[in-house]
């Protein structure tokens, strides 16, 4: 526990000393009386904050997933483990993250209080929060006691999500491009033709049949899995700020694609996450994006790019990956955002 005398505290100690000396010097019992009062206040303002902070435990949990620069909830559980004494007027704060802190009016013996606050992490990455602080100067203003509750907390902060323009995603064109015509089981009607024996009754297009007066059969695309390959350039030839933007864009695109139900593959230099869908898959990608760094190598060849629709996320057209641009459905340049 650290003790800090406030400005008032220093003055007060001085006053106590002066009055004490005066009392001793004059032998005036009334002055002794005043000295005794001041001294008592001094003793109390040193003893009570100590008792106040003793046995206070703090538990923190952060509502996940956490995105950079986005408000998230932090739950703070403060418990008083003392048998008898309540604690009053304590402030809990995390420097740099929650400077305003939480003010606890009182927490009784053997009881717990919960607070929720919004916090905002500035950067993506794996963060360890270590220096929590409990402060109190209860009941007076002369000394501030500070204790550092035990425990640290690791949080994976995902990149900031940005609003993605609808046009970037172009889902309809996606489907048509990669489909091949067949008369299989898909639902998306490409054309109609006359009924031939052997066709399943299920394939009859009843509306068209009604219109023409003869049985018509649907021709449909095969419901191919809609595969997307997203490539993020993390070679070192780019500025930090642009790279952060690119990462943020990648995270946003991945989130959108997964939400739309696509099967997504995510490729970067050094690490690839294979095709998959669903939220769990998204979190796998975001885990990577949270901690992704620019690699040392200047170039790395990408393989199997022909599978799925290719999207490229590059810092600028000077990126070495720009050579795959011709194969890509779309190329994003972070510098143009």
């Amino acid at each position: 526990m650290k003790i800090r005398a406030t400005r008032e505290g220093k003055r007060f100690v001085l006053a106590v000393l002066v009055v004490g000396f005066a009392a001793l010097n004059t032998g005036n019992n009334l002055m002794y009386l005043i000295f005794s009062m001041l001294f008592s206040v001094l003793v109390i303002s040193l003893a009570l904050p100590y008792l106040n902070l003793r046995g206070i435990k703090v538990d923190i949990e952060v509502e996940e997933p956490v995105y950079a620069n986005t408000e998230t909830f932090i739950g703070i559980t403060i418990s008083n483990t003392k048998q008898l004494l309540p604690s009053y007027s304590i402030r809990f704060l995390i420097p740099g993250l929650m400077d305003e802190g939480v003010y606890i009016e009182q927490v009784g013996p053997h009881s717990t209080m919960r607070f929720e606050r919004k916090i905002r992490f500035k950067k993506r990455g794996y963060l360890t929060i270590r220096d929590f602080k409990l402060l109190t100067s209860f009941p007076f203003i002369f000394f501030e006691f500070q204790s550092v509750p035990e425990g640290k907390m690791g949080i994976l902060v995902y990149p900031e999500l940005m609003a993605v323009e609808e046009g970037f995603l172009e889902p309809s064109s996606l489907e048509t491009e990669s489909g091949t015509i067949s008369r299989a089981n898909g639902e998306d009607v490409h054309g109609l033709r006359e009924y031939r024996p052997g066709d399943s009754i299920r394939e009859i297009h009843w509306k068209a049949t009604a219109k023409r007066g003869e049985l018509m059969v649907k021709e449909v695309y095969e419901a191919v899995p809609k595969n997307i390959t997203l490539v993020l350039d993390n070679t070192p030839a780019q500025e930090e700020a642009l790279f952060e933007k690119a990462v943020s864009l990648a995270a946003s695109l991945c989130t959108e694609f997964i939400k739309m139900g696509y099967s997504l593959r995510f490729i970067t230099c050094a690490k690839t996450i294979p095709f998959g869908s669903g939220m769990e898959h998204l979190f796998k990608i975001l885990d990577l994006l949270a901690v992704i760094k620019r690699v040392d190598r200047l170039d790395c060849p990408l393989k199997e790019l022909e599978r799925g629709t290719l999207y490229l996320i590059l810092a600028s057209p000077t990126s070495p990956f720009n050579r795959y641009a011709s194969r890509a459905k779309r190329v994003f340049y972070a510098e143009r955002l």
Binding site: L30, P139, F140
Partner: protein, 630 residues
């Protein structure tokens, strides 16, 4: 700033000012000017803006000028000057309260005021302001703490704050008792001006007149056992009467040095000793008072002086309040052999007096009878009055005896001494105090200036025998409240203002042997009750504070449920049904009762039904389970 905080600031300023005003040493003009702070705080409480800062600046300059002028030219006393300054400061500051740190200056100034007051007064009113100041101060600093934390409501903290104030009181008492005192702290600067007294080595006859009207307290004396007769508090004896003045010429003083403040004045005989515990107000004399024959003295000083008439002087006492204990024996003082002749001296030209004396004592042989006859004569034929004007150039004694036939104690005593001396009986005048009010609540005498008295001692058979020729005047009886207040004043004097190293030593000794019988015997029943009361109030408030924190107020079903859980010692975060499942009992009936108890509890707790019958059944089951779980 919250209104409550402003109000508190006002109160702290008020109590600071009050503590100074009650000393009675301040100039009324400054008190009136200082009273402006009330206006300032009313403005502030109404939410009006603070004064223009130029106005404040000019005000400060003027106040500084006034202070310099006041303390070095007008009043000439720096302490009083600073006190005046503090009044003006409060008045000015009251118009300039804006941010939450301004009140801190006010608190600090009030503290300084209290310090000044402690130098200007010893009165119990200081004690009253001090107690109020503690409470307000604790509240005020606590409030400033809350404001610093951005919290504005004081109400949730009422309990801890009252406990806090209580602890400050207790701690203050402890620190006060334990703080080191230097030996002989009497060397502090005397500040009280002291009261006039009729006790000098030469007193002018008629000088006591004014004093006899003064009701201020001279001393308070605890005495055990209480004497049956009215006590005569002896001061100085006078032997020679010259030109209308009594002189004390036979006052050769011996200096005595004490051991730890204990002085043996004369070897105590095997006679019974009685103790007088006296607090003497500041008087402009170094004489102290005692009853009969003082043999031992306890006082916190290095040396005392005693003359052959057993008058005790404390040279260092002048103008200070003093506490001493004197032990006396109930015997008259002995006449020192060969000194009688000095007590027979009659001034020239008092023939009429001598004749009168002979006339009164005609036919009487015994000295005792003669003296008694003179005393009776004076009491019978003369009228007591305070309204006496002695014309210039007239012998006041003869004027009393033959012309006015009216006077008060000094006249009676002087006349009697002269009459005794005229018939050859050595006699002297003794001045001191007579009686006083007996305060039966405190078991002590309150002796006032108006109790100042002179009487006669005549040398009969080698003893100085006391005669009081003054007829007793009418007496009013004091009210009950006054007696109680005076009792408090005595305690304040004795245990706060006069608290000394010796008291500390006594306390330590008592605490080091807490079970010694002597200590227990000395402790009076009342004191024991008082201590018991204080301790129990403290304990009760502690218990109240902690207890109310621990058990929240649950409704009855929950209380009963929790009680059973506690008794079964089933622990953990369990639902009622889980609690039932972990309840082990071979008794099927009890198991069934437990299940029903759980179900009824849940019904009462979680449904909207609040059926009295169900509650009754729950209580029944609770009793059943309780008796089983015993």
């Amino acid at each position: 700033m919250p209104k409550g905080y402003k109000l508190l600031t006002f109160l702290v300023a008020f109590i600071g000012n009050l503590s100074l005003v009650v000393t009675g040493q301040l100039n009324p003009v400054f008190i009136l000017l200082g009273g402006l702070f009330i206006v300032g705080y009313i403005r502030s409480l109404k939410g009006l803006p603070q004064a223009n800062r130029y106005v404040i600046g000019v005000g400060s300059t003027i106040i500084l000028g006034i202070f310099l002028l006041d303390s070095f030219v007008v009043t000439g006393d720096v302490i009083v000057g600073v006190a005046h300054l503090s009044l003006l400061f409060h008045a000015l500051k009251s118009f300039d309260i804006k941010d939450p740190w301004d009140p801190l200056q006010v608190f600090f100034m009030s503290l300084i005021q209290l310090l000044l007051a402690s130098e200007l007064t010893r009165s119990m009113l200081f004690g009253v302001s001090f107690v109020i100041f503690i409470v307000l101060m604790v509240l005020a600093i606590f409030y400033s703490h809350l404001i610093k934390e951005g919290h504005r409501d004081l109400r949730p903290f009422i309990k801890p704050i009252s406990l806090l104030a209580l602890s400050v009181f207790v701690l203050t008492t402890v620190v006060f008792i334990l703080s080191p005192r230097l030996q002989g702290s009497l060397w502090g600067k005397p500040l009280s001006k002291g009261m006039r007294s009729g006790f000098r080595e030469n007193i002018k006859l008629g000088g006591l007149g004014n004093i006899k009207l003064d009701p201020s307290v001279v001393m308070r004396v605890s005495i055990s056992p209480r004497p049956k007769d009215t006590p005569y508090w002896r001061g100085i004896t006078y032997d020679i009467y010259k030109n209308g003045q009594w002189l004390s010429l036979l006052n050769k003083k011996n200096t005595l040095y004490g051991i730890n403040g204990k002085f043996d004045i004369s070897t105590p005989p095997d006679k019974k000793i009685f103790k007088q515990d006296i607090i003497l107000e500041p008087l402009d004399t170094d004489v102290i008072f005692s009853l009969r024959f003082p043999v031992r003295l306890e006082v916190e000083t290095r040396r005392i002086r005693v003359d052959q008439n057993m008058t005790i002087y404390i040279p260092e006492k002048k103008n200070k309040r003093i506490h001493y204990v004197v032990y006396s024996i109930n015997t008259p003082l002995k006449v020192i052999k060969g000194s009688e002749q000095y007590y027979l001296n009659i001034p020239q030209g008092m023939k009429r007096t001598i004749e009168l004396a002979r006339k009164i004592t005609r036919g009487l042989k015994d000295k005792q009878m003669k003296a008694q006859a003179i005393k009776n004569y004076l009491i019978k034929n003369y009228t007591y009055t305070l309204n006496v004007k002695d014309p210039e150039g007239v012998n006041p004694i003869e004027n009393f005896l033959f012309n006015t036939k009216k006077g008060y104690c000094e006249h009676y005593a002087s006349a009697m001494v002269m009459l005794l001396r005229a018939v050859g009986i050595p006699a002297r005048v003794v001045s001191g105090y007579l009686g006083g009010e007996y305060n039966k609540y405190g078991g002590y005498y309150i002796v006032r200036q108006k109790d100042a008295h002179t009487w006669v001692e005549a040398s009969i058979d080698g003893n100085w025998v006391r005669f009081d020729p003054t007829p007793s005047g009418p007496e009013g009886s004091p009210t009950l409240v006054m007696l109680y207040l005076d009792y408090l004043k005595l305690k304040w004097e004795r245990y706060v203002v006069q608290f000394s190293r010796y008291d500390q030593l006594r306390i330590f000794r008592a605490l080091s042997m807490p079970l010694s019988l002597k200590w227990l015997k000395q402790m009076k029943v009342k004191a024991a009750l008082l201590v018991g009361l204080i301790v129990s109030i403290f304990i009760i408030s502690m218990v109240y504070l902690f207890k109310s924190r621990r058990t929240r107020s649950y409704a009855e079903p929950t209380r009963l449920y929790l009680d059973i859980l506690k008794r079964t010692s089933i622990k953990g975060n369990l639902t009622p049904l889980e609690a039932y499942n972990s309840f082990r009992s071979d008794d099927v009936e009890i198991k069934k009762a437990f299940l029903e108890f759980i179900e009824l509890y849940q019904l009462l707790r979680f449904s909207t039904k609040k059926d009295e019958g169900v509650i009754r059944r729950l209580r029944e089951l609770h009793r059943l389970l309780k008796s089983y779980l015993k």
